[in-house]
């Protein structure tokens, strides 16, 4: 049984049955300065460490009338809602260590697309952003403004608990907040007695402290109120083990997508990143155990047998992605529109050709979010007219669609608005 199908065991129904209306019940705190012009409200970034075998992905034809390819076949039902991009990259140098520039742009460590977007659109959601990995992650994918790589959640059970905390977890959070009030009372009285012994200059410093304490008290109130809100009840049965062993990666991937769809539906977060690992996992697909680990397959050296097995793995990635897009179509937002209409899904990589560790021509797919879809858009950097179009230009368009007014992203200063918006 393929892991993707295997996962059906755990999901009782395609949708979720809710104890309460969800998006509608939450206060509309997420309204942001960006949202007035926003056509999309959520961003999902998926990064595949080993990329995709582009000969099996890219259609020969450009535009709308392309013949479906092996890797696009599982996504055929979403054809009208997605775009395939070829020929875009960050003009960065090669090698595994440059992989993390997938969302950074030209330089590894620059604030990533997801974090820039989260900073603008995530006000009021429970989690400004979620960083998740399926498979052990060997490279960072998301960087903060301060160039700090963000850790990723590797266990579905951890993500589940974070999103839909169990009774015990909520009790602990509530306890820590309530008892935290007595802690603040004590430190306030210490600050007051300190205040009487210090200079005018130091009183300014202590004012910072008092102001912070008052603000944290208000934050605690808000958190307590949030905790009083019923937890979104979702009808997903988690397996009694965490699929973190290497060869269960596809199962983990599928489960993570399910949880991501639920996180978006419950408006727990609007920016989610998922990393797809690529180490030595030996997969069993449709009962057939592959002849080499995923990473070894990616170094195929044009061996057709290896490519066949590599593409088998990548088809599974595409099936998982397709199922995720289907879920976003079935689930709806507060206005009753399909979630996908206002959710941008970016599937990409920092690796154009894993066999050669080449970081040019990064295969990229974008679905949903109200963009003009249904085409294969090919770019050629050897064409003087397109020589300066980079992947960051697409990111700028995604940001514009999310209501942001950015003009530059890393080495990109144009955009693809004219093609997509």
């Amino acid at each position: 049984m393929s892991p993707a199908l295997d996962r059906r065991r755990f999901l009782r129904a395609a949708g979720v049955s809710l104890a309460l209306p969800m998006l509608e019940s939450l206060p509309a705190t997420a309204a942001t300065k960006a949202s007035a012009k926003a056509k999309a409200e959520r961003l999902v970034c998926i990064g595949s460490f080993l990329g995709l075998h582009t000969p099996a992905l890219y259609p020969k034809e450009t535009g709308a009338d392309f013949e479906v390819t092996t890797l696009l076949e599982p996504l055929q039902q979403h054809r009208a809602d997605m775009t395939v991009f070829s020929g875009l990259d960050h003009r960065a140098s090669n090698g595994h260590n440059n992989w993390p520039n997938f969302l950074c742009g030209k330089n590894v460590g620059d604030m990533t697309l997801d974090q820039r977007v989260a900073r603008e659109i995530s006000h009021g959601t429970r989690f400004a952003s979620l960083e998740i990995t399926a498979g052990q992650n060997s490279q960072p994918m998301c960087f903060t403004e301060g160039r700090v790589p963000l850790p990723m959640m590797e266990r579905p059970s951890v993500l589940y608990r974070k999103l839909f905390a169990t009774g015990a977890d909520r009790e602990r959070s509530e306890y820590l907040i309530r008892s935290g009030h007595s802690a603040l009372d004590q430190v306030l009285s210490e600050a007051k007695s300190l205040q009487s012994t210090v200079s005018a200059q130091d009183r300014v410093k202590l004012d910072e402290y008092f102001a912070s304490v008052r603000d944290v008290e208000k934050r605690m109130e808000r958190q307590l109120n949030a905790l009083k809100q019923p937890v979104p009840e979702v009808d997903i049965v988690m397996p009694d083990y965490d699929p973190v062993a290497p060869n269960l990666m596809l199962e983990c991937e599928s489960l993570m997508y399910d949880l991501m769809a639920l996180a978006l539906e419950t408006d727990s977060s609007r920016v989610i990143s998922l990393y797809l690992g690529g180490l030595g996992q030996v997969f069993t697909i449709d009962g057939q155990t592959l002849q080499a680990g995923y990473h070894a397959l990616s170094h195929h050296g044009n061996d057709p047998d290896k490519i066949r097995e590599l593409v088998m793995v990548e088809i599974e990635h595409m099936k998982c992605l397709s199922r995720f897009i289907s879920q976003l179509k079935q689930k709806s937002d507060a206005e009753g529109r399909p979630l996908l209409d206002s959710t941008l899904v970016l599937f990409g990589t920092g690796m154009g050709d894993a066999s050669r560790h080449a970081n040019s021509d990064l295969p990229t797919l974008v679905a949903g979010g109200g963009l003009k879809h249904g085409r294969h858009l090919a770019f050629d950097k050897d064409d003087p007219k397109q020589a300066d179009i980079v992947l960051g230009d697409l990111y700028l368009t995604l940001m514009h669609q999310l209501g942001m007014e950015s003009d530059t992203f890393s080495n990109a200063s144009k955009n693809l608005d004219h093609l997509l918006i």
Partner: protein, 860 residues
């Protein structure tokens, strides 16, 4: 004794005088100002935003003293009045300077550090010292702001609500390490594990029939082992484990060794097997599966690992001869196999089962040419040689032959039953140890006295001074109230810890007024030299009231300056003074050669080991500029400095060595270290202005004012039509630019011989493959007329004017140590310290100790 000089110097220092609020400017200076300055700097024109139209000096404002300092500086170095304007006579100028100097010295008292919040490093070190844990900040923890070049400045270290919230969150995580909430009780269970639920990583195993077959013993778990994918120990305890296994085609009926070990499920799959806890080792024989039953402790979060300990194949042995011998024998025993391997195409695709299939296709050919394997010994050796060069890939393929032919180890069913008895895992043991150390022994004390004693001990450490009875009472009350509201002992202690760790008494240092008291001073000294809170010895000195005795202070400082204790200071100070924290974000242009993380580390270590020696050996300040030694690794030393290393050294390419430098070498010292040159460039090209400003700020202590607004950065002309010197010519032709750039540009150009990673170069990269590489012109003239040909001339110049560098370094040490930039009075005192060190042929350690001995260093 090493600090005798410094002790003497410590006596230098101004006595504090009362500060007057506002003071009328006497007629002579007032006339001077109106005659020579007000043309441009009156209230209307305010050239350069400077208004000198004053009648009195307000010493309580922060503006006026700074303004006067500025006037003093430009008058002294002759920058003002501008050459074109009327100049004051020498005597007139001198008396004006004297008046300003006297007024500033009289009115500006040493001191002025605001309450200093612990920065990230200091916070972590404090936590780990208080609790003896290995706490690390979460990545989301807010960063600190840098001011005056350092991240430990009172004014820069602000507190914001998100930061206080982050402190509160961390405090709960820390308290969990001593007083965690109780774990849920785990029920006993039975878990059956079949080969379909066992992991395969790379080519570590293969499912054959009803078994997981293992064939190699490589050290990384991911290369050799299998483990249950769906079993994770929920509760630490004793488990009964039954493993069914059989040996597949062992040689000469020798038993195969099966090791069962324990791994944390969250461990990196590449972890070495020998670091995992061994639970049992068994001799496995061929034939019917044998059942091995044993009892073992499994800890929460662990699962089993199966390891074939005496397998023949090993891709990870550092000694390649074992693998080579195995392969040669294999090819000597089977000529057909050798011929097949010789006939297959060896590209990167030959890996794993797919690769083995290729070899087998050859093996099965009826027309396989066996003659190519002649002479067999030579060909077998050649093939083995090819294979041992890439053992990981080849073993991943050859292992499939073992999967088919053996010897291989088959794991069948595993049953795990338990937990029968709960056991304390190492994490719990450590937590209980910390808990009992925190609480101390109750002994004959009442519970209340016992708790009070624990609280007192904790607050004394956390607040870095003896806990006052009021504090102890308040925290005791917090504890009692929490218990009274229905929470248990541990929860109440958890709250005590959480509270203290968000208290201003923990988060802030440099409390009080005037001179710091012994405890605050012990903290200042300790955070200065170790980035951490006072250790026991320093605490004892403060408790004993001895931190007011200069001899004790210098003794303690000298102790903390010893290698080991001062590692954090060395690292943090070099990172910030020399800007090495930039290195992590610089990606050198691949055209400059391969640059690895280990190279970056070597550059950081060079600067650190250099400063450590300067302090340890009390080396003269001139060695910062023109030393005859540096530290480097053979890798970096040969690639960047062009140094020669012997074979044994090259073998350990990343190991740091102390190397002597030729007297004529441009490398070495803060004006030649590759780390500094890299940090002042951007990885791709050099920017003379940035380097020039860097030298002014960090070597000569004469920072230029910020650049004017609306001046675009210079874009390198990649076509090579204009040299960078042409592009910068405008700096000297425009008078407003020239004022600063006549200082900046020669310092930047003279460093142009260092490329963006600090290699010496004589020419810029050619703009195109066919074009000529433009030669470097590093020449220039300093404002005082000194001609520079290359960096060696700059070094001689600074060595000649070493007091200027000394003043700059003293200012950096002082700023880093006190959390404030020195004011006018403190500057003069620092200069006196530097002069004293130089006169007595003292060194770097003398300078540091001299600064620590200053009254100003102790001033709040």
């Amino acid at each position: 004794m090493r600090f005798s000089n410094a002790l003497h110097l410590a006596l230098v220092g101004a006595s504090l005088s009362p500060v007057i609020a506002a003071e009328k400017i006497p007629p002579t200076p007032l006339n001077f100002l109106s005659e020579y300055c007000l043309d441009c700097h009156d209230a209307d024109t305010e050239k350069g935003k400077i208004n000198l139209d004053l009648l009195e000096i307000d010493w309580t404002s922060s503006q006026h003293p700074k303004l006067l300092e500025k006037v003093h500086a430009v008058l002294e170095n002759g920058e003002m009045p501008p050459k074109k304007k009327t100049q004051p006579g020498a005597e007139e100028r001198e008396s004006m300077l004297q008046w300003i100097d006297a007024s500033l010295t009289k009115n500006i008292a040493p001191g002025g550090t605001p309450l200093r919040r612990l920065n990230r490093t200091e916070y972590v070190n404090s936590i780990n010292q208080i609790f003896g844990i290995g706490f690390k900040l979460p990545p989301s923890f807010p960063p600190d702001t840098r001011l005056h070049g350092f991240d430990n400045q009172g004014e820069g270290l602000v507190l914001s609500p998100p930061l206080l919230e982050a402190y509160a969150e961390s405090a709960a995580v820390i308290a969990d390490q001593l007083f965690p909430p109780p774990l849920p009780v785990v029920e006993k269970g039975i878990f059956d594990i079949r080969p379909t639920d066992m992991a395969i990583s790379y080519s570590s195993g293969k499912r054959v029939g009803g078994a997981m077959r293992l064939g190699c013993k490589s050290a990384p778990m991911s290369r050799s082992c299998s483990w249950p994918t769906k079993f994770e120990t929920k509760g630490s305890g004793t488990y009964k484990i039954r493993v069914q296994s059989t040996a597949f085609n062992p040689r000469d009926d020798q038993p195969l060794k099966l090791q069962i070990r324990a791994r944390p499920l969250d461990a990196n799959d590449g972890t070495r097997v020998d670091t995992l806890r061994l639970l049992g080792e068994f001799d496995v024989r061929p034939g019917d599966p044998q059942t091995f039953e044993f009892s073992a402790d499994l800890y929460r979060g662990e699962t089993l690992v199966y390891y074939f300990a005496n397998a023949e194949l090993d891709s990870d042995n550092e000694d390649k001869d074992e693998l080579r011998a195995l392969l040669e024998k294999m090819f000597m025993d089977d000529k057909r196999l050798l011929a097949a391997w010789m006939s297959v195409e060896h590209n990167s695709g030959l890996r794993g089962g797919v690769g083995w299939k290729r070899v087998k296709t050859q093996l099965d050919r009826d027309d396989l040419d066996l003659a190519i394997a002649d002479p067999q010994p030579e060909e077998a050796k050649k093939m083995a040689d090819i294979m041992v060069k890439n053992p990981v890939n080849y073993v991943e393929t050859i292992i499939y032959q073992y999967f088919e032919q053996g010897p291989a180890l088959d794991i069948r069913k595993t049953t795990i039953e338990g937990p029968f008895e709960s056991v304390e895992d190492p994490a719990t043991k450590a937590q209980k140890r910390r808990r009992s150390e925190f609480l101390g022994k109750q002994g004959a004390k009442s519970e209340s006295d016992w708790i009070a004693a624990a609280i007192e001990g904790f607050l004394t450490k956390a607040f870095r001074r003896p806990a006052s009875p009021e504090w102890v009472a308040a925290y005791h009350r917090l504890f009692d109230d929490h218990r009274a509201s229905g929470h248990d002992f541990d929860a109440a202690m958890h709250l005590v810890i959480r509270t203290a760790l968000t208290s201003p008494n923990f988060l802030y240092r440099d409390k009080g007024e005037g001179q710091l008291d012994d405890f605050e001073f012990a903290s200042r000294l300790s955070y200065f030299l170790t980035s951490g809170p006072p250790d026991n010895k320093l605490r004892d000195a403060a408790l004993g009231g001895r931190m007011s005795i200069p001899k004790t202070v210098l003794f303690q400082a000298d102790r903390l300056l010893n290698d080991g204790a001062n590692q954090n200071f060395i690292r943090s100070f070099t990172q910030q003074w020399l800007g090495l924290h930039e290195l992590i974000s610089i990606m050198p242009d691949p055209k400059l050669g391969r640059f690895r993380d280990s190279d970056r580390k070597a550059l950081e270590q060079e600067a650190e080991m250099f400063l450590a020696e300067m302090i340890r050996e009390n080396r003269p300040l001139t060695d910062f500029i023109a030393p005859d030694f540096t530290y480097t690794s053979p890798d970096v030393g040969s690639a960047i400095y062009g140094l020669k290393f012997d074979k044994a050294q090259k073998k350990k390419g990343t190991q740091m060595l102390r190397v002597s430098l030729d007297p004529d070498s441009p490398h070495g010292g803060i004006l030649g270290q590759a780390g500094v040159m890299m940090a002042t460039a951007n990885g791709v090209d050099t920017q003379p202005v940035l380097r020039g400003v860097w030298v002014l700020e960090n070597v000569l202590g004469d920072p230029p004012p910020p650049p004017p607004e609306a001046v675009p950065a210079i874009t390198p002309d990649t076509r090579g039509a204009k040299t960078i010197r042409d592009l910068m010519a405008a700096h000297t032709s425009e008078e407003s630019c020239a004022r600063c750039h006549q200082k900046i540009d020669p310092l930047g150009f003279v460093l142009e011989n260092f490329n963006p990673i600090g290699q010496w170069r004589e020419a810029y990269p050619a703009p195109s493959p066919k074009a000529k590489a433009p030669p470097i012109d590093a020449t220039g003239t300093l404002p005082d007329g000194t001609a520079l040909n290359d960096v060696r001339d700059l070094k001689s110049y600074i060595v000649k004017h070493i007091d200027q560098f000394g003043n700059c370094l003293a200012e950096k040490f002082f700023t880093y140590g006190t959390g404030r930039a020195p004011n006018y009075t403190e500057h003069k005192q620092l200069q006196a310290i530097v002069d004293g060190v130089l006169k007595k042929d003292g060194g770097t350690r003398d300078l540091l100790l001299g600064i620590i001995g200053m009254e100003a260093f102790r001033a709040k």
